[in-house]
């Protein structure tokens, strides 16, 4: 138990250091661009499939239930609100954590065990500034964009189910969806993904830096990163939802 709390403190110190280092030059613009592409563009195919499936499955599951109450016309509203407020941000974050957090953990962990991080330090390069800051920034920028994209695809997926079952045309569907979404749905939904993006990259980097010994520790770093990041995303989601409700409703 003591070890767990020590690790939590360690992770907090590691994470908070980002806010100090991010303002200190030199700014790693090239590194940031590279990691943004890795975090964002390379996650696109996965996020596309997940986003679309999210809309399709949610509509398929909900349609018969709403039909029971004669409320089928509420399907676009229900899907849009569920996706934008909750499912889109959380599922996208969890899926991206599986890909990116483990990748960062393995990459930095492998650099650690092969002394590349020591080599950076000997070259007077601060490894935190060079390796962590650009990755975390990329996470903070990319995840909200990926989530918005996943939300859009989920809505399209939902329309596909409704259209095929002959329920509604595109114009009516869009009017119904857009008018149902308010500021209080979109802002908390997208807002928390900035934090999720921060968590995904920071946790991956933290476990990478903690790797020591041989290649087995690199595998452990990758696994720990994805498990811990997923866990933290869900805990943070609970807290952020509560805060969102207090602020917006």
């Amino acid at each position: 138990m003591k070890k767990f709390f020590v690790q939590i403190c360690d992770i907090s110190v590691f994470s908070l250091r980002f806010f100090k280092e991010v303002v200190v030059p030199p700014y790693e613009v090239g590194e940031f661009a590279g990691h943004l592409a890795n975090f964002g563009l390379r996650s696109l195919p996965l996020v596309s499939v997940i986003g679309l499936l999210m809309g399709l499955i949610l509509s398929l599951q909900t349609k018969p239930v709403l039909a029971r109450f004669g409320a089928e016309s509420f399907l676009p509203v229900m899907v849009a609100v569920s996706v934008v407020r909750e499912l889109g941000p959380v599922i996208t974050a969890l899926v991206v954590a599986g890909r990116v957090s483990s990748g960062i953990g393995a990459e930095i962990g492998s650099m650690k065990v092969t002394e590349q991080i020591d080599a950076l330090e000997v070259s007077s390069v601060d490894p935190y500034r060079f390796l962590v800051v650009p990755r975390v920034l990329a996470g903070i920028v990319a995840l909200p964009l990926l989530t918005a994209y996943a939300d859009l695809l989920a809505v399209i997926g939902s329309f596909a189910i409704i259209y095929v079952s002959g329920g509604m045309g595109w114009q009516l569907f869009m009017t119904s969806t857009v008018t149902s979404l308010s500021f209080a749905d979109i802002v908390p939904g997208i807002g928390k993904t900035f934090f999720f993006g921060f968590v995904i990259s920071t946790i991956g980097a933290y476990f990478g830096f903690k790797a020591e010994g041989g290649t087995a520790s690199v595998g452990r770093a990758a696994t720990s990163a994805v498990v811990f990041a997923s866990f933290l995303i869900l805990i943070a989601d609970f807290v952020l939802v509560k805060i969102g409700i207090l602020i917006f409703e």
Binding site: M111, T114, E115, V122, S123, S124, D126
Partner: protein, 241 residues
């Protein structure tokens, strides 16, 4: 140039260095011999500030490494080249980028000049054809050469070698040793070579010491050390090939 005074370093209750003393003069190459796990790499990492000693003093070029700020340490490191046991080439960069990285980043060398320098040092180590290869495409010996070129390209006053010939065949070890010696003479480099390869130590160093029980138990020329009857030392000189 390098002074280590009463250096102590422990890991979780295990004392690895227990009062180590060493002085290496400007332009001198000193070899540190010792069995695996005796603290040779720990000593090197204390010299470059990668590890903080529990107690003792490390002075490099009149500046205390053990008691300086991060900024001062960065300044000292500008004068130090470090060859890691594994080479530690950045595997996301090509060989050229590995060399150019440090030049353009800290020394504000123009990228074109940095490229010329990188090509020059890779030619010196015989790797001009591998300049655009990735580290994963290089053999063990080529990686060591590329890492040596990376350490040299910043034109350091001091070079620290951590097992420069480990894992290499005797022929390649000799070649790397000869290369190191040539570079030291050409640029008047002060060097500490941590090794258990007596062939390499014989080629590069004037003086050597045996690290045992956390201290440099014996120091002298390799000929002096070869005459010692201590089994731990004699083992290095038995069947060097």
């Amino acid at each position: 140039m390098i002074d280590i005074i009463d250096l102590h370093k422990s890991f979780g209750g295990l004392e690895v260095l227990s009062g180590l003393n060493l002085t290496v003069g400007r332009g001198e190459t000193f070899a540190v011999l010792g069995k695996s796990g005796t603290g040779k790499s720990v000593m090197l990492k204390c010299v470059v500030g990668l590890l903080v000693p529990d107690s003792g003093v490390v002075i490099v070029d009149s500046i205390r490494v053990d008691a300086n700020s991060r900024k001062a340490l960065a300044q000292i490191r500008q004068e130090i080249g470090f060859l890691f046991q594994s080479g530690a080439l950045y595997d996301s960069m090509s060989v050229r980028e590995n060399l150019v990285f440090n030049l353009t980043r800290h020394r504000r060398v123009d990228p074109e000049d940095a490229n010329v320098k990188a090509e020059h040092y890779l030619t010196l180590v015989g790797l001009e054809d591998a300049i655009d290869k990735m580290p994963s495409e290089l053999s063990g010996g080529m990686k060591k050469r590329a890492a040596l070129a990376r350490a040299l390209v910043i034109e350091p006053q001091i070079l620290l070698y951590d097992e420069p010939t480990t894992g290499l065949d005797p022929m390649t070890s000799s070649e790397i040793g000869e290369l190191m010696k040539k570079m030291h003479q050409k640029f008047n480099i002060t060097a500490i070579v941590v090794t258990h390869d007596i062939l390499c130590a014989g080629i590069v160093s004037g003086r050597a010491g045996v690290l045992q029980d956390g201290i440099l138990k014996y120091t002298g020329t390799l000929n002096d050390l070869a005459k010692l009857e201590d089994e731990a030392v004699a083992g290095f000189f038995r069947n060097p090939l």
